[in-house]
């Protein structure tokens, strides 16, 4: 191979880029042609092969991501019923304009936000605390780590159904336990805040361990000398946590906040299964109906595919707004952390 090393450095008179040049007279015309052909092939290879290699993902994405997305957008401009999905009648933006005065949509949006806050904030705080504890040298630390991940490996359906029983009004274990401290039966399914709290509990239970492990991994990557020098400067444990651990975890915290926010905005399985009714109304007064649930109710229970599509796109736009806000905040944070 080294014999052809000369080809890499073309004579100036030929001009052009390295691969395209014609070799000088010592080689016969035929060989030159062959070489040129190979060279063109190589060029094509270099230009197109990468696309072929990444194409499986994009083909899949086009078939199962992009096409449904666009088709949903198209359907949202029509009145379509599930009983006759090909029978569309054009209604323009009516499915979107009606969302503005659709009390059920805004109720669902409010619920999604409040359940999101009630579930995400304590979840991340508890995850941080747990990670901090697990970061100490403990007997059987592997056991604790596995145990924390167990809820994450449980199916939503199984977990939710068990929680429904625990939160039962008349025969639930939680009300039974609360009875000993003198708290009367709480109607976990029908009371507005109680039901949202109960749904959030399922989310917290499932995701705290997962986030704790992410924090733990990031904590273990913090160099020990930072703590040592902080200790030398007279910082106690709490100050070390505030001034060493937390700043080092900033990107990780941001990641978990973004992931939890996305998860919270798509919340669906827990409230669906927490519903005492067979539909998807999220409680008899829609007190814990999330956007995902409302979308499902319109599309699959009420069979209004057009309306459901418009809700889906509106959710998508709301998510984009949330994403932008996240981006701005994270840039601010990064700017402030680099100036530290």
């Amino acid at each position: 191979m080294s014999t052809r090393h000369d080809t890499a450095a073309p004579p100036v008179k030929e001009g052009g880029a390295a691969p395209g040049h014609r070799p000088s007279g010592t080689v016969s015309d035929e060989a030159a042609k062959k070489r040129a052909r190979l060279s063109r092939r190589w060029q094509r290879d270099m230009r197109w092969s990468p696309y072929a290699f990444v194409s499986p993902f994009f083909l899949l994405f086009a078939a199962f991501g992009l096409f449904p997305l666009i088709y949903t957008g198209w359907a949202s401009l029509h009145q379509v019923e599930l009983t006759a999905p090909t029978d569309m009648s054009w209604v323009g933006l009516r499915n979107y304009t009606r969302i503005f005065d659709d009390d059920f949509f805004w109720n669902a949006a409010r619920n999604t936000l409040t359940i999101g806050v009630i579930s995400t904030v304590p979840q991340l705080l508890m995850a941080m605390g747990l990670a901090h504890l697990l970061n100490y040298k403990l007997r059987g630390s592997m056991f604790y780590r596995v145990a924390m991940l167990a809820p994450y490996a449980t199916s939503i359906a199984a977990a939710s159904l068990v929680f429904v029983l625990l939160f039962g009004r008349d025969y639930g274990m939680i009300n039974w336990a609360l009875g000993f401290v003198g708290i009367d039966n709480i109607d976990w399914q029908n009371d507005h805040w109680a039901s949202q709290f109960a749904v959030s509990t399922i989310v917290i239970w499932r995701w705290t361990g997962y986030n704790a492990l992410i924090y733990l991994a990031a904590m273990q990557a913090i160099p020990q000398d930072l703590y040592e020098s902080a200790a030398l400067d007279g910082a106690n444990r709490w100050q070390q946590f505030l001034h060493v651990t937390l700043p080092s975890l900033r990107p990780t915290i941001l990641f978990t906040v973004v992931v939890s926010t996305i998860g919270a905005s798509q919340l669906f399985g827990e409230p669906l299964l927490f519903d005492a009714n067979k539909g998807a109304s999220g409680g008899s007064q829609h007190q814990f109906q999330t956007l995902g649930l409302y979308l499902y109710e319109q599309g699959w229970v009420n069979q209004h595919l057009g309306r459901a599509s418009a809700i889906a796109w509106t959710m998508f736009l709301i998510l984009i707004v949330i994403g932008l806000v996240n981006y701005v905040i994270s840039r601010r944070l990064r700017a402030s952390s680099s100036s530290d």
Partner: protein, 452 residues
């Protein structure tokens, strides 16, 4: 420069194998893509392949069912296969109709993946009859099918405006009132089923008045009825019209019968006669197990449900009395999609399965009440007893109720309206809301859900 020349050199060294590699990559991508597309296309095809002749030359008829229809358990398939040696029968069962029906609609609209015979629940039959009738066989034209074999209202439920009957009735749910003899006695009410029936004969108002009498001396912690949803449903099931009028228009808000049923239920709930439960939820099941209510609106299948959820000592403590007005709750139809390969044979099987003799056998085994009055004379029905109700002649009681059920128009969105009235309506009264507030929540929910 170095980075750019290196692959260049390598290429020159073995251009041929690289071309082969590239061809392989392209082939892989292409095959993957086409495989995917083929995969999509295949899905529909293999689905509709459900029915086919097998190696022995037999015709296999497939049934798509939900819940426990019990044809197989009652030995009806085996019997039919014996009568028709060329036929083999196979069924696929989805446990819950909520999961079964959306898939059925999907398959009907795309006309693929269907079984030779599909079961349809009464709550969905109107929607299927109004939107999917062109995909289903008109079974009234099948040999041996006689309209007179079925109760008129059952036949009409599966008949379209053009007169095509797209489903043949299997079971129905004629309603009576199941009550606890022991609790009635403790509250000073009669316990004999004739006398109990007389307490409220002909009027749901009297039924609620009886409830008030019960509640005055009720055993601690019990209510007269199980749930508000059960009561409003029972009242509405016996009306001439409920949510749709005969012309097929939604009239639930203007129909005085609906508002009266709502108000009566709300009043009973405000007076504390009704447990604050939603039917078929775990908490409701526990009120059965713990004997928390004295009476419940009760089609034949409800006895099976009660039996499943009761403690053993509750056996024989129930009895069955006639409802104030007869109504129907539940029932199933069998339909035959036109696109099936064995549609003709399937239609014959449906006709056989829904004939009075087979319905009577099914009742004896499964407790699914026959929709063919011819079966009511058969010993399986006349001599029927239930463990929960002791020696009560339930076959006769329910048969009498079945013949009094009005021919009520049902509509495609009955279930949505009904669910709005119960789960977003009367249940709120048991939670301390005013009837007016409950009605407003219910109607607002229903109107939003109906709006296309």
């Amino acid at each position: 420069m170095r980075a750019r020349t290196l692959p260049h050199l390598r290429l020159r060294g073995n251009g041929r194998s690289s071309a082969a590699r590239r061809a392989l990559a392209v082939a892989a991508v292409v095959s993957m893509g086409t495989g995917l597309l083929a995969g999509c296309a295949d899905d529909g095809d293999s689905g509709s392949d459900g029915s086919s002749g097998d190696s022995a030359g037999k015709t296999t008829i497939t049934l798509g069912l939900f819940g426990t229809q019990g044809f197989k358990e009652a030995g009806l398939y085996a019997e039919y296969e014996k009568l028709n040696p060329d036929i083999k029968i196979a069924e696929t069962v989805v446990e819950r109709n909520e999961n079964y029906y959306p898939a059925l609609v999907n398959r009907l609209t795309s006309n693929s993946g269907l079984q030779d015979i599909q079961a349809v629940e009464v709550g969905n039959i109107a929607e299927v009859a109004t939107t999917q009738a062109d995909k289903l066989m008109d079974l009234s034209k099948v040999e041996g099918v006689d309209k007179g074999d079925w109760l008129d209202w059952k036949w009409q439920q599966a008949t379209t405006r053009d007169g095509a009957t797209i489903g043949l009735g299997t079971d129905i749910g004629p309603m009576a009132i199941c009550y606890r003899k022991d609790l009635f006695e403790q509250a000073g009410l009669p316990t004999d089923r004739e006398e109990v029936g007389k307490l409220w004969a002909g009027s749901w108002d009297k039924f609620v008045e009886t409830g008030q009498k019960y509640q005055e001396k009720a055993p601690d912690g019990t209510t007269f009825l199980d749930s508000p949803g059960g009561l409003i449903l029972a009242i509405l099931s016996g009306e001439k019209e409920k949510f749709y009028d005969a012309a097929g228009e939604v009239v639930y808000k203007d129909n005085p019968a609906v508002k009266n049923a709502f108000d009566l239920t709300a009043q009973a709930a405000e007076d504390g006669l009704i447990g604050n439960q939603t039917q078929f939820q775990p908490a409701w099941d526990q009120t059965i197990a713990n004997n928390k209510f004295a009476a419940v609106a009760c089609p034949p299948w409800m006895l099976g449900y009660i039996k499943g959820k009761s403690q053993p000592d509750a056996a024989g403590k129930w009895d069955v009395a006639a409802a104030p007005k007869p109504g129907n709750w539940g029932g199933t139809f069998l339909s035959v999609p036109k696109s099936g390969k064995n549609a003709e044979e399937a239609a014959k099987l449906v006709a056989w399965l829904t004939a009075p003799e087979q319905q009577a056998k099914l009742f004896a085994k499964q407790g699914s009440f026959p929709s063919a009055p011819g079966a009511y004379e058969l010993p399986q029905v006349t001599g029927a007893k239930n463990e929960m109700t002791g020696d009560a002649p339930i076959g006769e009681i329910f048969a009498k109720a079945a013949e009094g059920v009005p021919n009520q128009p049902i509509g495609p969105k009955d279930q949505i309206i009904q669910q709005g009235l119960t789960d977003n309506g009367v249940i709120l009264v048991t939670q301390g809301k005013s009837p007016k507030e409950a009605w407003e929540t219910a109607t607002k929910t229903i109107d939003n859900n109906l709006d296309q």
